[in-house]
């Protein structure tokens, strides 16, 4: 056992003295996760830059004592709650607003007509159109502006309907005084608007799938990407010490080891152990870096440890099995890289745990790395022991098969 540990220690030191190898193992996944995380947004969810929007409010109100509908709409768009979504600039003419959109200075313009309040206050049908002038090349930003505007306009229409209904009720109860009727209608409309804003009874809520027996979590994008990158680069991390078998064969040190009273099974065990230790340390460091740099919440410590060890075992077995087919270091490098990139694409390593549904979620189960990603995905969304059990067992089954193949080929070659 001491000899196996000595061989493992020697191989591990060899890996950590290779600066280029270390960069590949630690720097590359962190950099890629940072870049991809920034591209997708690193907050609680995807985020985009605030939509540059211009407003032209031509509405003068319906009369003294009546709130101006245009002001309400403008205030809604300028609400601090929408500050992250909309960057509002007020302009004084529709022409200037349209020019701003045409010139690309704004994604959308909201042009409030002069007769908006009058139309809302009128007892007879009277049209007033709020115009949204948008950049046709953009989709998301103008859609947000349109959605917010439509929401406010619907509230205004609701207020108008409430006012009309209250006035008709008052007439049916014998109220004939015009001023009194106007006051009743105004109060009903305002009350509707206030209630719609503060005490909505019917709401819409978008939710993520909830893993059975878990609490719902919303992992940040960078941590989801980092998991994919971590597993991908762990394969390369495993390949480096695995290549040492071939390097030692080429350098003559393997033959020299075979002249010492050290059984070949011990030599191979030491080498396998080195591969496992190297990728386990790599995973631990990357998870810690994710915690510190991306504020990633990996989940419950116990399942995280089990899944990390399982990931290291799978990466080690894959590193060894790809090397066991090769005869030279160069051949091993080419074969390993090709297999790892294919597995990365098949398993979805480049998007991490973001893709969790659809046919792709089924296809990636062909690969042990796909199963690992599924396990990590469940942990990131609040899963626990029960939710990672199947991914861990299947991934370990793959690893056992790969280890078996590696041992068979190594023993046959060096018997």
């Amino acid at each position: 056992m001491m000899k196996a540990l000595s061989i493992a220690w020697k191989d591990t030191v060899h890996v950590y003295r290779d600066i280029a190898g270390l960069a590949m193992m630690f720097i590359a996944p962190l950099v890629l996760a940072t870049v991809l995380g920034a591209a997708f947004g690193s907050g609680d969810n995807f985020s985009i830059a605030a939509v540059r929007t211009v407003i032209v409010d031509q509405d003068k109100g319906a009369g003294a004592g009546t709130p101006a509908a245009g002001a309400m709409l403008s205030a809604a768009l300028e609400s601090p709650d929408l500050g992250d979504l909309l960057a509002i600039t007020r302009l004084d003419s529709p022409e200037k607003a349209r020019t701003a959109v045409d010139d690309g200075d704004a994604a959308a313009a909201v042009i409030i007509p002069a007769g908006l309040s009058s139309a809302l206050a009128s007892s007879v049908a009277q049209e007033a159109n709020v115009e949204i002038y948008k950049d046709p090349a953009l989709v998301v930003g103008p859609s947000i502006v349109a959605a917010v505007t439509e929401s406010v306009v619907q509230t205004l229409n609701g207020s108008r309907a409430a006012a009309a209904a209250a006035a008709r009720l008052a007439v049916s109860r014998g109220v004939t005084d015009t001023a009194r009727l106007a006051g009743i209608a105004s109060k009903a409309g305002t009350a509707f608007a206030l209630q719609a804003q503060t005490d909505a009874q019917v709401t819409v809520e978008a939710r993520n799938p909830v893993v059975e027996g878990s609490i719902e979590k919303r992992p940040n994008v960078a941590s989801q990407v980092l998991i994919g990158m971590m597993l991908f680069f762990m394969l390369f991390g495993a390949a480096t010490p695995a290549h040492s078998v071939l390097e030692e064969h080429r350098n003559g040190t393997l033959s020299r080891l075979f002249t010492t009273p050290t059984p070949r099974s011990i030599i191979l065990s030491g080498k396998f152990l080195a591969v496992f230790v190297v990728v386990l340390v790599q995973a631990a460091i990357l998870l810690l870096a994710g915690l510190l740099l991306f504020k990633a919440d990996w989940g419950e410590p116990g399942p995280v440890v089990v899944l990390t060890v399982c990931s290291a075992i799978v990466a080690a077995s894959l590193g060894l099995v790809t090397v066991s087919f090769a005869k030279t270091v160069g051949q091993a490098g080419a074969v390993s890289s090709a297999i790892f990139v294919f597995l990365g694409l098949l398993s979805g390593n480049f998007t991490g745990t973001i893709v969790t549904s659809g046919p792709f979620a089924t296809i990636r189960r062909i690969s042990p790395v796909g199963w690992l990603l599924e396990g990590w995905s469940k942990l990131l969304y609040g899963g626990s022991w029960g939710s990672i059990a199947l991914p861990v067992l299947v991934a370990l089954a793959f690893a056992v098969v790969f280890f078996g193949i590696s041992v068979f080929f190594f023993r046959r070659r060096y018997a």
């Binding site: 001491m2 000899k3 000595s6 020697k10 030191v13 060899h14 003295r17 290779d18 350098n251 003559g252 040190t253 033959s255 020299r256 080891l257 075979f258 002249t259 010492t260 009273p261 050290t262 059984p263």
Partner: protein, 315 residues
């Protein structure tokens, strides 16, 4: 019982069409002696030493080291031997000391005793002051010394050195030969392979001459030289290749062997050099060639090889 006994070893690579590297080789090595395997490249020396190191299994035959079979008791044999491979087999990204510590652990050593022994070996190979430098930064001679040191850590009873002086400077070569003598004087039985006749002559108590997988002669230097009798070797350099002369000279009376011409160089063994030399000049003139150099040598291992194979050792 001999320290090392080899009987009828046979090894063929990639049978049935591959080359026979070792063909029915037998010899013994006595306890405490230096035994050299002498022969040109491809003679089968490294294959023989690989079998005795338990690296290769023979197709036929048997070898016993210290009474243990290399095929049936390899772990016992490996505990008795220290092997210095032909090529440097060290970890270049580790220091000289780290290398020795690692190889010591592979022989089951550890702790303070290993540290002490590493110090002794570093002193023996003269690298105490450079022990913390990475092996990759060592000169060729220094690497060779660490390569030897790694085989000495466990105080082996038998030391195998496979062409340990190939490609190094004369000073390092001298140092290695002296170390081998010192180790032998300390009681280590040495198996040494070389294609340098001078090394075999200087170091060896007994020598086995190998050629094309066969052991063609075994004995002390004196016993081997007596195989060529009182003959003298004449080394001739011509201004051109003259194959026709080799044929003529082989038929001359008193000539026992003539090497194949090699870039105008030939070697002849003869009982009477003084009588033969005028004939050589005359034959060369007739063939349109000119002898540019000629020298005489007393009987040595080179002549033995020439006598037994018809080829110079350097061929």
């Amino acid at each position: 019982m001999e320290a090392i006994e080899v009987e009828g070893l046979q090894k063929q690579f990639d049978p049935p069409k591959g080359p026979v590297a070792v063909n029915d080789v037998s010899f013994e090595i006595h306890e405490g002696e230096v035994f050299s395997l002498l022969g040109p490249n491809g003679a089968g020396k490294t294959t023989t030493i690989s079998i005795l190191s338990c690296l290769l299994k023979p197709d036929r035959g048997e070898a016993r080291v210290g009474g243990f079979s290399v095929t049936r008791q390899p772990e016992k044999v490996k505990g008795l031997i220290g092997v210095v491979p032909q090529d440097i087999a060290l970890y270049e990204d580790m220091s000289g000391r780290e290398n020795l510590l690692f190889w010591g652990r592979m022989y089951g050593m550890r702790g303070a005793s290993l540290d002490k022994r590493v110090d002794e070996v570093l002193e023996l190979i003269g690298l105490l002051d450079r022990q913390k430098d990475r092996v990759g930064k060592y000169s060729g001679g220094m690497k060779r010394r660490v390569n030897i040191g790694a085989a000495l850590l466990h105080n082996p009873r038998f030391l195998y050195l496979d062409e340990p002086t190939v490609g190094i400077d004369p000073q390092s070569r001298r140092s290695i030969l002296d170390k081998v003598k010192d180790l032998n004087a300390a009681g280590v039985t040495v198996l040494y392979t070389t294609h340098y006749m001078e090394e075999a002559q200087e170091l060896s108590d007994r020598i086995g001459i190998m050629d094309q997988g066969n052991m063609i002669a075994v004995g002390t230097q004196g016993e081997l030289v007596r195989l060529v009798g009182e003959r003298t070797r004449i080394d001739v350099a011509l201004d051109r290749d003259a194959d026709i002369l080799a044929g003529q000279w082989r038929r001359l009376s008193g000539v026992t062997s003539v090497s194949e011409p090699d870039d105008g160089h030939m070697s002849l063994l003869t009982d009477d050099a003084n009588t033969l030399m005028p004939t050589l000049f005359e034959n060369a003139r007739t063939a349109g060639a000119r002898i540019t150099e000629i020298s005489l040598a007393e009987p040595n291992l080179e002549m033995v090889f020439l006598h037994l194979t018809g080829r110079a050792l350097r061929d």
